[in-house]
Subunit: 253 residues, 2 copies
């Protein structure tokens, strides 16, 4: 199908040694992209794969805070950027490690393009099975740069059930298709709040919209995540990895 | 104070005849920026002011859907873009009127800069007391273009109570301050969900974070909005203006 008519793997050109690069995007911000990207990376690592996590949201890098990571990446002798490691293993790279928390990156497009290329080329990721990339909102410079620099194996599109979030997810899918990136599937986040006191579920943001849209656009529906206050608290406190870990154990067969 | 050391009103240079331009930003997407921008515009209009609403979120324009507006703007004899009008009065301009809903704008920075200048210069806004601008997430090209083209009277920063939303709001404030745009204040959205069955309130996303941050950054706290399912349903159905109208009447003294 034309979806896969991409150039042969040019991984050699930029020196990244990853067997597979997966983008996690959404179009709209605040839908849980970073949470889903971190959770995907942790799940793949738990299954025994070598995984790296790259935060490409240069203007609003949330990965360091959600995972409780900080520190300035060192520069190695070979002039490579040493990524920060989660639990001394998973390499993580983010603009959040290069700035003070209150510092805004006020860059125009060309600077964005350059910084993303550097994250890909100059970071010492090592041999990876997967590089998971947490995308910024929108369909502009960074999305274009990524699609032109690495052969991406697939994109996961996250959305919340509201109409405006679905509209943005549709635009993200149309952009990925235009640059020949295969769509791995859609995830619906924050569908339904289970009230702890009366046991009723409320569709605060609606529910089911993503499943219908996925069918309409002939894209796989990868499942939904409810509104989960413990997940939010863990993210606020920089303990997302722990919360996902205990969650996985609770859910694992 | 240095905050106000901006060039004298250059409104003449780009032909926009608005007494005051107010930006509604947040840094993070999905926090309710478009909802707050539309609500601010409608409130000022109800108080008798001449108000225009510009949707500067080129990649993810939500204003047309939330207000149930559609149509292609016509071009007048003087080569001006005729904005779409809400209830035959408030002029509204958005990228959403120039594209099909599933069409993604895959532009790099310079194209964004050009399109925003066109919205400001070439749209026939008429004489306005206020132009309300719904900003895109992030602190890049569009934010820079706006601050360099119009003398902005103030910026309202919207955030949700989660830590990562507060972090992005802080970056948005630091960006506005760098380009000498005064901060009118912070609004906290989606703080607290009142369960309709058991009457208890749940801080699904937390609460109170914005008030503390506003104090810390010496910025006015303009108030909070709870999670409101009727607001979400109205937005999904393109009836936000009606919902805000009946809301206002219910709340007005
Ligand atoms: N299912 C969920 N339930 C509750 N809170 C969530 C859920 N998913 C994400 N969050 C919270 O919502 C906020 C935004 O999530 P984030 O992953 O940063 O979104 P994005 O990357 O799309 O901007 C974070 O505070 C996160 O903890
Ligand atoms: N206080 C609220 N309660 C419930 N839903 C809300 C509230 N504020 C905004 N929403 C909904 O959240 C979604 C995102 O809002 P939007 O204004 O588009 O955010 P942004 O412009 O920051 O991306 C919309 O579906 C909107 O209807
Ligand atoms: Zn209840």
């Amino acid at each position: 199908t034309p979806e896969h008519a991409r150039p042969p793997a040019r991984i050699g050109q930029i020196g990244l040694r990853a067997k597979s690069v997966i983008l996690v995007g959404s179009g709209k911000g605040g839908v849980g992209k970073s949470t889903v990207a971190a959770s995907l990376a942790l799940t793949l690592q738990r299954l025994g794969a070598k995984v790296g996590l790259m935060d490409a949201d240069v203007y609003g890098p949330s990965i360091p805070h959600l995972l409780g990571l900080q520190g300035r990446p060192a520069i190695s002798e070979q002039k490579k950027i040493e990524p920060i490691r989660l639990d001394n293993s998973m390499p993580v790279m983010s603009m959040g490690f290069l700035l003070e928390p209150d510092q805004a990156v006020i860059w125009r497009g060309p600077m964005l393009h350059g910084s993303i290329q550097q994250f890909l080329k100059d970071t010492d990721w090592g041999e990876l099975d997967y590089l998971i990339v947490d995308m910024p909102p929108g369909t502009g410079d960074i999305a274009l740069t990524l699609s032109q620099n690495v052969p991406v194996s697939g994109a996961v599109v996250v959305c919340t059930p509201q109409e405006v979030a679905l509209l943005d997810a549709v635009k993200a899918i149309s952009m990925f298709r235009k640059v020949n990136i295969p769509i791995a599937g859609m995830v619906e986040n924050m569908s339904g709040f289970l009230c702890p006191d009366c046991g009723k579920t409320y569709d605060i943001f609606g529910s089911g919209g993503a499943r219908d849209k996925a069918e309409e656009l002939e894209v796989a529906y990868l499942g939904g995540l409810p509104i989960d206050v413990t997940l939010r608290i863990a993210g606020d406190e920089g303990r997302l990895a722990e919360a996902l870990d205990s969650d996985q154990r609770a859910r694992a067969p």
